[in-house]
């Protein structure tokens, strides 16, 4: 069994991360009835003997003593991290796993990346090593951050670089929250594009998330509940937005519902690596199957179901509805249109009481309406995990490598160029030690190249396929 470490950077990263740990504990509590520290738990948690204080030894087997998250919490402001440490999750984090400062990054990627990066480099490396040492077999780092600000964006991508240097064999999965068009941080396009270059060069897989999509999902659920269509028959802990049943008993904060969705994404992504099933799908398999070319590693995710009704026995038709929903825009975590773009690859991670015949039936049913690239017409990767998420009898996570991310990147580039042409706010960046004009030109160039790669693939869509001629054998 392998372990994963979560590195949460910046305000957004830490708020999402916090929800992740809460819901992870809730999920394991639902499955692990006997309180035994098992392999599934060990993938994200250490079991520490705290009788002799916080520095107790790790216990590898037997009863759960004190679970500690395999995480690093990094923020250049203290507010968010302090709140976590005063909240119900305080015992899950080790004080040695935190790196904080006071002044923040001023929404400036350069401050996060160059100033704080340089300042905290050794500290970060040391703490990463410590966390890695506690792992028997470290397989993956999960970075959670936003792209639009200064810390998550700048320092977060600095850490990404660091991870590649110090732990080249370990996978780097990045969950990135992209800014919306109406983002109130004026410089968010600069921050995002500068961060994109780092993601292009150093990440194995990126799961882009857009607040608009999360917001729409939250709204949809509210509407359904308020319209009385579901009413009391909805299992509240099944809502993909809910914290019900978790440690967080205080008033939910405004972003909690949205962050819970992202937390659920990560839980579903790692479910097959943690729990058993008839067709396992480990994290290294996700990277292997969904990334046909090194830089095309941006995956569109969609989660279903968003809630469960109280009736447990779900007939087949409802199951099929789950598959259809996964391909509907309502369930995606970014604003994009995969159905009208080109699929390079698609993965379906199913949890719960679903069998291979259900998978096959639905793939056959949905295939005709989707466009797959000519050299990967049957590009489906599937996984079956027996353990469903809390409150559900089954669930589906769809991950698509699809050219539909191109418009998102083009829009980002346009917003960047609007500012850059006028050299607006550029001095805030260039005055930072280590920053030069070339940082900007290289970053926009990298983004342009990426867009071009997607365009080339798009151009093949709909073109009648000519199969390359096979080798001819002289008999």
């Amino acid at each position: 069994m392998t372990q994963s470490v979560v590195v949460q950077v910046g305000q957004c990263g830490n708020q999402v991360g916090c929800r992740f740990w809460d819901l992870a504990l809730r999920e394991h509590a639902a499955v692990n009835k006997k309180g035994i520290y098992d392999e599934a738990l060990s993938s994200f948690f250490r079991n520490v003997d705290t009788r002799s204080g916080d520095n107790g030894p790790d216990i590898y087997k037997g009863k759960i003593c004190s679970l500690k998250a395999r995480a690093l919490l990094i923020d250049m402001e203290e507010g968010v991290v302090n709140e976590i440490l005063q909240g119900p999750l305080r015992d899950v984090f080790d004080s040695k796993q935190l790196i904080t400062d006071v002044s923040g990054s001023g929404n400036n990627w350069a401050v996060g990346h160059k100033i704080y990066g340089y300042q905290y480099r050794e500290n970060i490396v040391e703490k990463l090593r410590k966390t890695a040492e506690h792992c028997d077999c470290l397989q993956c780092f999960f970075i959670i951050h936003s792209m639009g600000g200064g810390t998550g964006s700048g320092l977060g991508t600095f850490v990404l670089n660091l991870l590649e240097e110090e732990f080249p064999e370990v996978y780097r999965f990045v969950t990135s929250v992209y800014p919306s068009g109406e983002d109130d941080v004026i410089t968010s396009p600069y921050n995002s594009v500068l961060a994109m270059k780092e993601l292009n060069d150093h990440a194995d897989c990126v799961l882009p998330i857009e607040n608009e999509s999360l917001f729409e999902i939250v709204n949809k659920i509210h509407q359904m509940i308020n319209a009385g269509k579901l009413g009391s028959t909805v299992k509240h802990n099944s809502l993909v937005t809910s914290s019900a049943g978790s440690a967080k008993t205080l008033q939910e904060k405004p972003f909690d519902a949205m962050n819970n969705i992202v937390a659920n994404l990560l839980l579903n992504l790692t479910s097959s690596a943690r729990f058993e099933g008839s067709l396992n799908m480990d994290l290294n398999e996700i990277s292997m199957n969904l990334v046909p070319f090194p830089r095309l590693h941006y995956l569109v995710s969609s989660l279903t179901p968003l809630y469960t009704l109280a009736d447990v026995n779900v007939p087949s038709r409802r199951l099929d509805q789950m598959f259809s929903d996964a391909f509907s825009r309502d369930h995606q975590l970014i604003q994009a249109d995969p159905k009208h773009s080109l699929y390079l690859a698609c993965a379906l991670l199913v949890r719960g009481n679903v069998q291979v015949s259900d998978l096959r039936r639905n793939i056959e049913r949905l295939k005709p309406s989707l466009h797959f690239v000519s050299w990967n017409q049957e590009g489906w990767k599937t996984g079956l995990c027996s353990v469903p998420p809390v409150g559900h009898s089954h669930s589906l996570l769809a991950l698509a490598n699809n050219t539909c991310v191109k418009p998102t990147f083009i829009e980002l580039k346009d917003r960047f160029m609007k500012l850059y042409k006028k050299k607006a706010h550029l001095h805030h960046y260039l005055q930072i030690d280590g920053m030069e004009q070339s940082c900007f030109s290289e970053a926009i160039s990298s983004l342009s190249d990426l867009i071009e790669e997607y365009s080339e693939l798009d151009a093949t869509k709909g073109v009648p396929r000519i199969d390359p001629s096979r080798l001819k054998i002289v008999v």
């Binding site: 069994m1 392998t2 392999e39 028997d136 077999c137 397989q139 058993e276 008839s278 067709l279 396992n280 480990d282 290294n284 398999e285 990277s287 292997m288 199957n289 969904l290 990334v291 046909p292 070319f293 090194p294 087949s316 390079l344 690859a345 069998q355 291979v356 015949s357 259900d358 096959r360 793939i363 056959e364 295939k367 000519s374 050299w375 990967n376 017409q377 049957e378 590009g379 489906w380 990767k381 599937t382 079956l384 199969d467 390359p468 096979r470 080798l471 001819k472 054998i473 008999v475």
Partner: protein, 351 residues
């Protein structure tokens, strides 16, 4: 005459477990529908073939379980032990932590050499326990990384270590549409390598078995367990002791060795020699009468051609190649594999 089974990867281990389950329930079952003497003789022969006696009296499967991650093996071992009727040797397994990531190159070039000694040691131990070793039976899928890549490597090692033994590879052909996106690459690499070291490849196609479950057995929600049980039943009925047409009173023929007489209905083969019929009066697993057909024909030509075609198509665009080159399998290696398989396709087509 004993057979040592090597179960490789998730698929290999899941199927292997069902096979031993089926064999054991056949032996333990009382529906012999034949004479007591006949039954005993069958009983002893089968047990000898697949199981080893232990002091506890519970038969121990002659098997080595290999996987690059622990979940499946640990499940398999415990399910067998819980059955009470048989079990695996608790020492006869080898696993690692990370898995092979569906990457053939990882299984073959990294895990293979790294773990060769440990795995072959376990195989050697099982082989030594046999009075008469009939040969090796490996179970693997082609689509993933461990069964396919490590499986190909282990088969090579078996050939090197036991040059005169019979090696039969049971290969699972993946569903046409996606279990694994790179399954066609993995399949091409596996088949071309197995051709060098194996004596025979026994193939089961997931699509075909799935149809059997759906149409012949009317199972509504087909699970992998259902699929594996059908496969196990078919394998069991082929491997169970049987009399050859030429008479002979014991069940001592090497079941694997018979594959050395392929049944080819071609113009240059005498029809009498072409068909080998084995009979046994003893019923198999509650079926009063059953027949199993194993054939070597052009049957697999179409699926093979299809896989090679799709893999070639993907290769032409260079998609996913970087995932293989980073573990040591280069484009030239791919080309060699394609060449080998095109030759096989050509040979079958020209029959």
């Amino acid at each position: 005459m004993s057979i040592v089974t090597v179960q490789l990867g998730q698929c290999g281990n899941q199927i292997g477990h069902e096979v031993f389950n089926t064999l054991c329930s056949d032996i333990c079952g009382t529906h012999g529908l034949c004479s007591k003497k006949e039954n005993e003789s069958y009983h002893d022969s089968c047990k000898e073939r697949f199981f080893c006696e232990e002091e506890s009296g519970v038969p121990v499967a002659r098997a080595v379980l290999v996987d690059m991650e622990p979940k499946v093996i640990s499940q398999t071992l415990s399910m067998a032990a819980r059955s009470g009727h048989w079990k695996y040797n608790s020492q006869a397994h080898f696993c690692q932590k990370q898995g092979s990531g569906n990457n053939w190159a990882n299984g073959y070039s990294v895990h293979g050499p790294r773990h060769k000694e440990a795995i072959m040691n376990l195989v050697q131990k099982e082989a030594e326990k046999c009075d008469r070793l009939g040969g090796f039976f490996t179970i693997m899928s082609m689509a993933g990384g461990t069964g396919s890549g490590l499986g190909a490597f282990v088969t090579q090692c078996l050939r090197d270590a036991f040059p005169t033994s019979f090696i039969l590879n049971h290969v699972i052909w993946p569903y046409g549409t996606g279990e694994v996106i790179v399954q066609n690459y993995n399949s091409v690499l596996t088949l071309s390598h197995l051709y060098q070291s194996s004596d025979a490849l026994l193939v089961h196609e997931n699509d075909v078995i799935h149809k059997i479950c759906a149409q012949l057995m009317n199972i509504k929600q087909i699970s992998f367990r259902d699929v594996n049980q059908v496969i196990a039943h078919q394998l069991g009925s082929v491997f169970q002791p049987a009399h050859t047409a030429g008479g002979g009173s014991g069940y001592s023929r090497n079941p694997l060795g018979s594959f050395q007489d392929p049944s080819l209905y071609t113009s240059w083969l005498n029809p009498q020699d072409a068909f080998n019929a084995w009979k046994t009066p003893r019923a198999f697993n509650k079926y009063e009468k059953s027949a199993a057909l194993v054939s070597n024909s052009q049957f697999l030509l179409k699926p093979l051609d299809s896989i090679v075609g799709k893999a070639w198509n993907m290769f032409a665009s260079k998609a996913y190649i970087h995932q293989y080159t980073k573990f040591g399998i280069q484009e030239e290696d791919f080309l060699d594999c394609f060449t080998t398989l095109e030759q096989v396709i050509s040979s079958y087509t020209n029959l």
